[in-house]
């Protein structure tokens, strides 16, 4: 088998990074969760339009809503980060810019997830 590869290719050791399948599956599994969570999220957020802070917090603090909002936040930040990664890979071909954008996306969505989880916790435990 190795005879079919040029020795230079073997020496460089490039080729498949062998971790694309995990990304592909994570994108689909999070999509499956979001099929159910997105309709709930839209209805809930529209329902909270024009509701004051106290009542909105009380609504989100119910065990069911807090659980679903946590699930939505985790699934959607993961799905968004995976998707933006592919968009950047496809269109940005300046090496330093691509690395900078990939890191910025990873950090931005990690921070968004952490801030959202903390916020839901504060709402659930203090409303």
């Amino acid at each position: 088998m190795s005879r079919l590869r040029h020795p230079w290719a073997v020496a460089r050791g490039l080729g498949s990074a062998k971790e694309g399948v995990a990304h592909w599956w994570a994108q689909r599994v999070s999509a499956g969760a979001l099929l159910f969570l997105v309709p709930w999220f839209v209805v809930t957020v529209v329902g909270l339009l024009g509701v004051d802070a106290e009542n909105a917090r009380a609504t989100l603090a119910s065990p069911l809503n807090a659980t679903l909002m946590l699930a939505f936040v985790l699934a959607v930040t993961w799905h968004a980060r995976l998707g933006l990664q592919v968009v950047i890979e496809d269109y940005i071909h300046t090496p330093w810019l691509e690395v900078a954008l990939q890191l910025a996306v990873k950090f931005a969505y990690a921070l968004a997830a952490i801030a959202s989880v903390l916020a839901i916790g504060r709402i659930a435990f203090t409303a």
Binding site: G32, A53, V73, T77, G83, A115
Partner: protein
């Protein structure tokens, strides 16, 4: 290396092809995905403001409940719903289903129609159960 003179396949957007529902919906899937990703950051902002409560949330809610705020939220709902429905189309393709061209066109038009219906329906249900109409 010299570039040989050879025919190139033209890019799908531009003067060479008529717009086709296949390529247009594919581009729309990417575009709505990017918009949704930005909306996710707005969602985090909303949750943080709601956790802070009081005046912080009152200021956020005043923007969100204004006409531009509602238009932006409706647009976010529409891009979420479109991406969800077209994403289901992609999941069927991943399973090897619906690849015949007539099926691809039918599912494409179905996604456009259902996105409009489902966005309106979710907005209606949300407004009915919520305090604001």
């Amino acid at each position: 290396m010299a570039t040989p003179k050879r025919p190139l396949s033209p890019f799908m957007i531009g003067p060479y092809y008529r717009p086709q529902i296949t390529s247009m919906l594919s581009i729309a899937h990417r575009a709505t995905g990017v918009v949704n990703a930005l909306g996710v950051l707005a969602m985090a902002w909303w949750l943080v403001a709601l956790a802070a409560g009081g005046d912080t949330y009152a200021r956020f809610a005043a923007v969100a409940d204004s006409l531009p705020g509602r238009v932006a939220l409706f647009g976010f709902a529409a891009t979420l719903v479109y991406h969800l429905l077209n994403g289901m189309r992609h999941l069927f393709w991943d399973a090897g289903l619906g690849f015949e061209i007539p099926q691809v066109y039918r599912s494409g038009y179905a996604v456009i129609a259902l996105a409009a219906v489902l966005t309106a329906a979710l907005w209606y249900v949300g407004a009915r159960i919520g305090g604001a109409a």
